[in-house]
Structures are given as structure tokens and as C-alpha cells.
């Protein structure tokens, strides 16, 4: 570590790019900022919605792993009750 950390003391996922799986089958990929009573705050988030996307979730994540997150929402707050799983993107393995 270089020691140049401007924002210590945040949630353990603060600053980590995460894959958020929703109850409604949407998948969000964004940078975790914080969690509070309103929900999970994500930054620079891309969304895969199986209802509107031609690509499968796996293809979306495969492409995101290679080319990065296409940011569609600079700031997004997701109610925690709508979330089924949060996984760091780097831990996602797509065969």
C-alpha cells in the first residue's frame, strides 16, 4: 500500500466493483459505495435485465469481465430487500 487512502473507515465493500443479483432477476454491476437505511449505494452501474436484453446474464458478465463495466447510472440506490446476493466482480467465474 502506498498509504494514500482518502476514505478509510467505510463498509468492507466500499470501492469494490460488485455484482448485485436482484429478486427480479436483474443483475447490476457497479462500484459499492455504502449501505444505509435507503439501501445499497452503487456508483457507475451497468444493468442486465433479462426482460429487455438479447444477451444472457452469463454473456453480459463475460463481456463485463473482459471490457469493463458499461456505466449506465452514475448513482443508484437499491433497497436491500430486493437483493439476493452481492459478489465482487473479480470473484465471478464464467466458463
Amino acid at each position: 500500500m502506498s498509504g494514500h487512502v482518502f476514505h478509510p473507515g467505510h463498509h468492507e465493500l466500499h470501492g469494490i466493483t460488485v455484482v448485485v443479483t436482484m429478486h427480479d432477476d436483474r443483475t447490476l454491476v457497479g462500484r459499492f459505495d455504502q449501505e444505509d437505511a435507503r439501501g445499497i449505494h452503487l456508483l457507475d452501474t451497468g444493468i442486465h435485465d433479462p426482460a429487455t436484453s438479447h444477451a444472457s446474464r452469463e454473456d453480459y458478465l463475460r463481456r463485463t469481465l473482459k471490457f469493463g463495466v458499461k456505466p449506465e447510472h452514475p448513482r443508484l440506490i437499491v433497497p436491500a430487500a430486493q437483493v439476493t446476493a452481492i459478489t465482487p466482480l473479480r470473484e465471478i467465474a464464467i466458463p
Binding site: S2, F67, P71
Partner: protein, 144 residues
């Protein structure tokens, strides 16, 4: 709003002392990346301690590897905004993130280390990925 330049200076110097040429303007970027031949690493620097605090030491270790890019450039996201956007315009389909590192060969991105490949990892693991990319794409060892 950009951070105070005085706060950012050590982060710039942590990269420029490695021999990376800092690109501050669109013209700076075009002068070195347009029609570039050979290999070049573009380090997109960032104030973010979550990831950049690991990326800069990893870059330092990787550039000590005997096989490395023939040129190293750096732009500072959130500081030199226009230069960063221009540099990213050379990255093709790859989405912006910072910090990140793009390895180009003859103007094409051959390897991209995104922010998500840096976050939460030890510098040694990042170095291993970078040097593997150098060995794959940067050819014969550089002789000092």
C-alpha cells in the same frame, strides 16, 4: 471537482519516478499515442486509495521486470480530465475505470487491467498478472 494539486502530487510522482511520461493535455496524448508503434503501457492514475494504493506499487514492481513495454505513459483521472478522456479514446471497446492500465501494441489494446482486477488484491498478485501480460505481448527482454 479535482482534488487539491498539492495532495495529488505525491501520487503523480509515485508514477513519474518510474519513468512514466505524464500526459496533461489532449495534444500530449495525441502526440504519443496517435500512430504509436511498438508497445506502450498507459497507466490511468487515480486518487482512490481502495485501488490506486495497490496499483502504483504494483506498477513499480512490474516495470522492474526484464520484459516490459517500450514506453510508459500516465494520465490522471479526475485531474487531467480531457487528457484522460482522450487516452481512453484509444482504448477501443474497453470501458473507463480508474485506476486501470492499458497495454497497447502498435496502437491496439492487447491487455487491459481494469479497476476490478486491482481492487482488494495484493500488489504481488497484480504484478503477476502484469508481468505475464508483458511476457506475452512485449517481446524480447529490455537490456539496460
Amino acid at each position: 471537482m479535482p482534488y487539491d494539486p498539492a495532495l495529488v502530487r505525491p501520487m503523480r510522482e509515485e508514477v513519474t519516478r518510474l519513468g512514466a511520461r505524464e500526459l496533461h493535455t489532449v495534444a500530449d496524448v495525441d502526440n504519443v499515442l496517435a500512430n504509436h508503434t511498438g508497445t506502450a503501457l498507459v497507466f490511468v492514475n487515480s486518487v482512490c486509495g481502495c485501488a490506486a494504493g495497490n496499483a502504483r506499487p504494483a506498477l513499480a514492481q512490474a516495470l522492474a521486470h526484464p520484459v516490459r513495454p517500450s514506453a510508459v505513459f500516465t494520465v490522471f483521472a479526475g485531474q487531467d480530465v480531457d487528457a484522460t478522456a482522450r487516452a481512453r479514446s484509444y482504448f477501443g471497446e474497453y470501458q473507463p475505470s480508474s485506476p486501470s492500465m492499458a497495454l497497447l501494441r502498435d496502437g491496439e489494446v492487447v491487455y487491459m487491467m481494469h479497476r476490478h482486477m486491482i481492487e482488494g488484491r495484493d500488489p504481488e498478485d497484480i504484478v503477476a498478472d502484469l508481468t505475464a501480460a508483458f511476457e506475452q505481448y512485449c517481446g524480447a527482454p529490455v537490456r539496460d
